[in-house]
Amino acid sequence: MSDREITFAEAIREALAEEMRRDARVFIFGEDVAEAGTPFKVLSGLVEEFGTARVIDTPISEPGFSGIGVGAAMTGMRPVVDLMFGDFLTLAMDQIANQAAKVHYMSGGKLNVPMVFRTTMGATRRSAAQHSQSLHAWVSHIPGLKVAIPSTPYDAKGLLKTAIRDNNPVVFFEDKMMFKMKGVVPTDDYTIPFGVADVKRAGSDITLVATSSMVQVALGAAEMLAQIGIGAEVIDPRTTLPLDKKTCIESAKKTSRAIVIDEGYEQYGVTAEIASVIAEGAFYYLDAPVKRMGALNVPVPFSPTLEDVTVPTEQTVFEMARMLCGKS
């Protein structure tokens, strides 16, 4: 284990490269994944090492190449499908939710679909309504899928390796704004089990359950809260499906207060599931209602002055937590 720091994008790239070296069945395909290395340059260098037979540029055909991925996965390969923007999940939902997710069950357990749909999420890039959504709630709703949503380079690498080795279809969300974030990542091979939340910061006064980019926001808020004597525990579920209900509930039992923070639309979003799980599981321990902070229920606007108010910030989380703890 070294303590070198690499970026989130590098962590993703390393995970892919290592798994491709380990297992000849793994391949990547999607739009501009080869020479261009995706518009985010996350995959730069992979085609040089693995060639165009394993890093494959596709036409702009999200339903088509997603479906091809399903068929390849059913017949001995382990594809990693690249869906450039999470907003394009809309196009591939039939292949993801009606095919990939259901094949194993419908066949009575005979067929497997070991594949990963890598996609992105996150706003504040000034990309407007069709390039800024965080649609992980949709796929988290569908039995048969698994959904990973890492918040650090370390988690990204470990979870992606787990995803690639999993025998089920996994939807893997990377926040576009985190690609350049740095963090310590060991060089040794490691994986992170799905369904195990990580306590990113311990605290005893309030629980902040946060996902993806919102983990940093929660940590920032926790820092501010510490200044006024409130100890916030920050929990990152890391996968929304399976969800580590126990860790969320136990923390809330301990702190007796909780806020759930996520970058998807608030209504019928991930915050609803986690908040209701905590409200039910920690019912007899809670001193205040569980609060939800998702993205504003509006299509993501382009203008900076508008977009910036759609997503929870350190300041808004801090204020909500302070209010919940009865400090003013």
């Binding site: 391949f27 037979a53 596709t58 036409p59 055909s61 339903p63 088509g64 190449f65 997603s66 479906g67 091809i68 991925g69 399903v70 068929g71 390849a72 996965a73 059913m74 017949t75 001995g76 390969m77 594809p79 039939d94 292949q95 009606n98 095919q99 094949v103 194993h104 069950y105 419908m106 066949s107 009575g108 357990g109 005979k110 067929l111 497997n112 679909v113 070991p114 039995p143 048969g144 698994k146 025998n167 089920n168």
Partner: protein
């Protein structure tokens, strides 16, 4: 037409077609006597397509099937008894009762499963071909679908990639003239084969009621695909004798009784083959009758097995969600 097909193979095809016919008649009975949960889409009348196609395949070649899939399953090698068990929702069924009529899968015979989303398996079949190519396994993949399925944009996306990457996939379009209750002329502009030719793909039309014709056309396309010469599209003109599904009884508002009679009388795939074999004095009626008796017995035994078989235990409901 029959030059290259020996008698044994012809009789094998006759037997497969007769089995599908008998199977579907029994399914209809099961529905009418309320012994089958849900609905089923019968393949009767289209037997020569599935049989002609699958005869040209090896057991480890792949197929993907449709809502009207019983014929594909049987032709690719599925067993009658376990299919009935699946249709009746029994534990002994191919999918432990979880799939039913529209989802029978049998990987042992290369069947990657039927699909209840029209066109839904076009990506899967193309992906299986891509996988075969990557693994250099020599397998081909066949994607069955109906004329109506050409309405789905997915076809054009995957056909383009199959053509670009020369994948060993054959798109078999079962043109039975209708999608549900609507004639294809009301829903499709232009010629079907042009839809594949646009990608530079080899495309042919064949009489889907003549099993020899289907088989021979298919054989060539399979060989091409195995040689790495890329995908193909085979339009098989055919007809479904029954309604869209077993409950579609009054069909007069969308198709004429005379049309149905014409196909059943003059274009029946079993009759066409038997007439030819007898006319050429390659066999006689008694041989064919014996085959029919055999498959009828198999179907009777299969349905009896399935009717007797136990339902899955309710506790199995959350098994098989994840591998």
């Amino acid at each position: 037409m029959t030059e290259h097909i020996d008698l044994e193979q012809s009789l094998q095809m006759y037997q497969q077609m007769a089995k599908i016919r008998a199977f579907e008649e029994k399914v209809n009975e099961l529905y009418k006597s309320a012994k089958m949960p849900g609905l089923a889409h019968l393949y009767s009348g289209e037997e020569a397509v599935a049989v002609g196609v699958c005869e040209a395949l090896d057991r480890d070649d792949y197929i993907t099937s449709t809502h009207r899939g019983h014929g594909h399953c049987l032709a690719k090698g599925a067993r009658v008894d376990r299919m009935f068990a699946e249709l009746l929702g029994k534990e002994a069924g191919y999918c432990r009762g979880k799939g039913g009529s529209m989802h029978i899968a049998d990987p042992d015979s290369g069947n990657l499963g039927a699909n209840a989303i029209v066109g839904g398996s076009m990506g899967i079949a193309t992906g299986a071909a891509m996988s075969a190519k990557m693994r250099r396994s020599g397998q081909v993949a066949v994607c069955f679908f109906g004329d109506g399925a050409l309405g789905q944009g997915l076809f054009y996306e995957v056909a383009n990639m199959a053509a670009l990457w020369k994948l060993p996939v054959i798109y078999v379009c079962e043109n039975n003239l209708y999608g549900e209750y609507t004639h294809h002329t009301e829903t499709a502009a232009g010629e079907f084969i042009a839809r594949a030719q646009t990608f530079g793909m080899r495309a042919e039309i064949v009489d889907g009621q003549d099993v020899h014709a289907v088989f021979m056309a298919m054989q060539k396309l399979v060989e091409r695909a195995r040689r790495g010469e890329g995908p193909a599209f085979l339009q098989c003109d055919t007809y479904r004798y029954y309604g869209h599904h077993v409950g579609d009884i009054n069909r007069a508002y969308y198709r004429a009784k005379e049309e149905e009679r014409e196909w059943m009388t003059n274009r029946d795939p079993l009759k066409i083959l038997s007439t030819r074999l007898i006319a050429q004095k390659l066999t006689d009626a008694s041989v064919l009758e014996r085959i029919e008796a055999d498959v009828n017995a198999e179907v009777e035994a299969g349905v009896a097995f399935a009717l007797d078989a136990p339902f899955p235990d309710a506790r199995e409901v959350d098994e098989d969600v994840y591998a």
